[in-house]
Every structure is written in structure tokens, then in C-alpha cells.
């Protein structure tokens, strides 16, 4: 299921490359990122940064270096409402599915920004965050975040996004979105099941932990 979807996405991604090569149907992802589209999508860079690195102040996520499959899935989710967000919902709806894939491929190909700017949190919060990330809390049925998101929060394939170097406020907001049900686009309900078991303090600690981890420098074309 999920995997077949992934394959289809990869196949389409390949198709995009072919299409992009023929001038008639060329869709330039970098053009959308910098200037938006004629049909009303604004420049992504305005919020997500010129380098796709996101913004700590605005709580805008980084897009650079995330996987094509994941970014496309998110744009589709904003578009169909399985991830509710006024701003991104309108933007995704203004993009055709080909445009979504083109801009996703553009960001996936950008290097992740260098070291995270957030400073590491202090003692107790930091060890709680690190514990959840590396060991989990199995007494409450919570696996380690790293078991799905990779031991350094670097992300795995198209389904499991990188968490390292995302703004803490953004990560927190996503955990709440699963709890309240405004985000329900995760395969097998995997992330909903986990977010439901985390307290607000857990969420804050683990978000601060990942925000302070450097983003992996390796891009992911899957």
C-alpha cells in the first residue's frame, strides 16, 4: 500500500525529469520556489527561506534536503485536507500535481542548511528529550523516535521525514495537530498513535532536542 504509493511517486518523479527535459511542458521547480506561479501560488521562499532552510522565528519548516516522496505527499495532504492548514492548504490547491512534484524535487535536491541555530536545551529537558528520541518510553508503549525517523533524526525513505534541525515550535505544532486530529495523513496512523501518548512536556522536550540537532547533509531523492 504505502510502498506502492511510494513507487508510483518515484515513477512519476522519473516522468517529471523526462517531461522537464522537453521544453513544451517544462515546469521549473526553482521558478515556483522563487517567484510563485501565474495561478496564484506565492513564492515559497518568502516563508521557507531562500535556501529552503525554513525560519526559526516564523516556525516555518525547512524543506531543503527532505525527500521528494515526503514533500509531495505533504503538498497532496494540504491539498486534500488530510493535513489542515489555512496557509498551505490554499497554496497547495493553487498548484497542479505536476507543479507540486516539480517544486518538491527542487527542494529535495537542495543541500540541508548547515548547523541548526537553536541552542541546546538545558539539563532535565534535554535528557527527557534525548531519552524519548533514543530509547522511547516503552512503559507507555512509545518507541524511540529514532526507530522510525533514523537515529540522528535524519529521516528514512519517503515515509519518515527528517526531524533534525526543524524549528522546535514547528515540531510541537505537528504533535498537537495529530492529537487534535487536524493532521491525519500518516500511513497506518503510525504517528497519531505516538503523539496521543505524549504529554505536552514530552512534546516540548523532544522538539527542543531535535531542533538542536544538525540537519543531515545528505539529500534524499526518494
Amino acid at each position: 500500500m504505502g510502498l506502492k504509493g511510494g513507487k508510483a511517486r518515484i515513477a512519476l518523479g522519473g516522468l517529471m525529469v523526462l517531461l522537464a527535459a522537453s521544453p513544451a511542458c517544462a515546469i521549473d521547480g526553482s521558478e515556483i520556489a522563487r517567484n510563485g506561479t501565474q495561478t496564484g501560488a506565492p513564492a515559497c521562499a518568502a516563508c521557507h527561506g531562500d535556501d529552503g532552510g525554513g525560519s526559526i522565528e516564523g516556525g516555518f519548516p525547512r524543506l531543503a534536503g527532505l525527500s521528494v516522496g515526503y514533500l509531495t505527499h505533504e503538498l497532496d495532504s494540504f491539498g486534500d485536507g488530510s493535513r489542515e492548514n489555512e496557509t498551505m492548504g490554499a497554496i497547495a490547491q493553487a498548484l497542479t500535481s505536476d507543479e507540486r512534484r516539480a517544486v518538491a524535487a527542487y527542494y529535495a535536491g537542495l543541500p540541508a542548511p548547515k548547523a541548526a541555530e537553536a541552542s541546546a536545551p538545558d539539563g532535565a529537558i534535554s535528557s527527557r528529550g534525548r531519552n524519548l528520541a533514543e530509547t522511547g518510553d516503552w512503559s507507555r508503549g512509545v518507541p524511540a523516535c529514532g526507530q522510525c525517523h533514523g537515529p540522528a533524526g535524519q529521516g528514512v525513505g519517503a515515509a519518515f521525514p527528517a526531524l533534525a534541525g526543524q524549528p522546535a515550535a514547528y515540531l510541537m505544532a505537528q504533535l498537537s495537530a495529530w492529537k487534535t486530529g487536524t493532521r491525519h495523513n500518516d500511513p497506518l496512523g503510525l504517528m497519531k498513535g505516538i503523539a496521543d501518548k505524549l504529554s505536552d512536556q514530552d512534546g516540548a522536550a523532544v522538539s527542543a532536542y531535535y531542533a538542536a540537532l544538525p540537519a543531515s547533509q545528505v539529500g534524499d531523492s526518494r
Binding site: 510502498l3 535524519q154 497506518l188 503510525l190 543531515s216
Partner: protein, 308 residues
């Protein structure tokens, strides 16, 4: 010593909690058998003593979690102990170390003699890790045994504790491999990959372990028996969603993954039928049988592929 004190204290706490929690339950809802026996809670990491024993316990924990890098001479695949014994050997119904430790020495039908705990650990390397058994007394075995003993601190000896081993599911009428394939595609492939080979992050770190093929457990491993695999899967998979599959789904998906090729049984004599008869004579074991056109065990990659 701090270890002893802590162990005793935690057992006392558990007993006290068990009494206050279990009694009202029995009174109110009749016999809640599980509730009547308080689950054993292994001591926390912070109770590991700060001395020479503590160092070895920590090494054992490290080996259990990062087996390939910490014991490279004995590991021949891409698995770690903790892949099948979750939460670093702590989680009940995931064959936890604390429950195992207190039941050895034990007679094992697998090799028809009484095994010490260390000998049991040797088997894990030979079969589950498709590697080589560390010699008795090897620092790797000493460290793992010390870690298991630490986790068992305060547990009664010789008692089968609740949560020991993997759950034993009621035997099904039959095993439906095509159904298992569907369950696999819907609920497992996302992580373990369509071809069962597991999945790495783009920097090459293996995150989801392989279920079959040359880098997984071999044909002699406990997990190659559908009975063990079904119990493990029912209680623990998909990750974070234990006990969400029906028994039929767990049996059939276990049959599906245990009817794919994997490294050879180290006890293979060169005669597939004889090896099946000697070690695999069960309807829950596909070694030597032909499934989806493949005679399992006939084309297996070699056992014990550790570089010397």
C-alpha cells in the same frame, strides 16, 4: 552494594503496588488473573552500579543494542539483539532478558541437554545473528550475562514470570500464505521493504531490520519457526501498534516471511530432507518445503558469514 539495595527496594515497591492495585480489581471485577500477578519491572539504567561490575553491565547493554559493532567477530547479518527483544531486552512479551535469566540452567529440546544461560546466548549468535558462537568465558558472553542478571535483579528465581518469551497464540486451522502476503504489503512493507531487506536512511544507516534474505536470521533461528514469529509479531508489530493484528493476520504474515529464503541452517548436513527431518519436522516450519516455486534451504546463502 547499591545494586542489591535498589533491587530489593524496587521489588518491595512492586509488591506493595501489586497488592493495592490487584485486590480491589479482584473484588470488583472477579478474577482478573493477569492483574493478580504483578508484572516484574526491571531496575532502571540509573541503578547500574558505578564500579567494575557496572562497566561490564553497560558493555552488555551496548552489545545488545549495537551488536554488529560491539561484537563484530560473532555477527554475520544486519540484526541486533534488540530487534527481536525490544526496549533493550526489557519489554514483556518480547522475550525479555530478565524473564529468561531466572529460568536457566534449563533443558532444551533443540540440542537435547541442559543449557547454561551462557550456552543459550551462544545459540543466539549462531542462529539469530547468523554468526559464530563466542567461546564460553568470552568477554562478550560475560557482558551479556551480566546485563541480563542486572535486569533480573529482584525477580524470583526459577519462576516463569508473566511476559516471558513471546505470546503463544492459539494454533490456526491452517496457514494462508497469499493472505500473509497481502498483510505484509499493507502493514509491513512500508518499513521492512517490499523485498524484506529492511530499509536504510540516505546516509546508509540501517533503520528497519531485514526479515528475510542473506542479511537476516538463518534457518536455524527461533524466529524461523512460524510459532515464534507469529507470537512476536502479534505482540510487537507494526512497531508501536502491538496487538493490533488479528491472530489470523499474525499467523499468515509470519508464514509469509518464514517461507522466503534466508541463510542456511548451520546444522545442514548436505541433505535437505535429512536436515528437515532432524531439526524442522513441524507443520510450522517451511525449511525444505517448496513454496511459490522455491525449495527453501536448497539455494540458501551460507551460514555463519562472519569475516575471520
Amino acid at each position: 552494594m547499591s545494586l542489591t539495595r535498589h533491587g530489593a527496594a524496587s521489588l518491595a515497591t512492586v509488591l506493595a503496588l501489586g497488592l493495592t492495585l490487584a485486590l480491589p480489581q479482584i473484588g470488583a471485577a472477579g478474577a482478573d488473573r493477569e492483574g493478580a500477578v504483578p508484572p516484574f519491572v526491571p531496575p532502571p539504567d540509573s541503578a547500574i552500579p558505578d564500579d567494575d561490575l557496572g562497566k561490564v553491565i553497560r558493555l552488555g547493554e551496548h552489545i545488545f543494542h549495537d551488536t554488529r559493532n560491539q561484537a563484530p567477530a560473532f555477527v554475520g547479518n544486519d540484526l541486533r539483539c534488540t530487534n527481536c527483544h525490544l526496549d533493550r531486552g526489557r519489554l514483556g512479551h518480547s522475550a525479555p532478558l530478565w524473564a529468561a535469566y531466572v529460568t536457566y540452567p534449563a533443558y532444551r529440546a533443540k540440542n537435547r541437554h541442559v543449557n547454561t544461560f551462557a550456552e543459550r546466548l551462544q545459540g543466539c549468535f549462531r542462529y539469530s545473528m547468523n554468526g559464530k558462537a563466542p567461546p564460553l568465558g568470552d568477554p562478550v558472553l560475560v557482558a551479556l550475562e551480566s546485563y541480563a542478571a542486572f535486569l533480573a535483579h529482584g525477580a524470583p528465581v526459577g519462576v516463569k514470570l508473566p511476559g516471558q518469551g513471546y505470546p503463544k497464540l492459539t494454533k490456526p486451522k491452517g496457514l494462508d500464505i497469499p493472505h500473509g502476503r497481502e498483510v505484509y504489503a499493507a502493514k509491513c512493507a512500508l518499513c521492512h521493504g517490499e523485498n524484506g531487506a529492511g530499509q536504510a536512511s540516505s546516509d546508509g544507516t540501517l533503520v528497519f531490520p531485514p526479515l528475510w534474505g542473506g542479511r537476516s536470521y538463518n534457518w536455524g533461528a527461533g524466529m524461523s519457526s512460524v510459532v515464534n514469529a507469529a507470537g512476536f509479531i502479534k505482540a510487537n508489530m507494526p512497531l508501536g501498534q502491538g496487538n493490533s493484528l488479528t491472530d489470523a493476520e499474525a499467523w499468515d504474515v509470519a508464514a509469509y516471511i518464514d517461507s522466503r529464503e534466508r541463510p542456511q541452517d548451520p546444522r545442514f548436513t548436505g541433505d535437505l530432507a535429512a536436515t528437515r527431518a532432524a531439526h524442522h519436522d513441524s507443520p510450522y516450519d517451511f525449511y525444505g518445503q517448496t513454496v511459490d516455486g522455491v525449495t527453501l534451504g536448497a539455494q540458501s546463502s551460507p551460514a555463519g558469514t562472519v569475516a575471520r
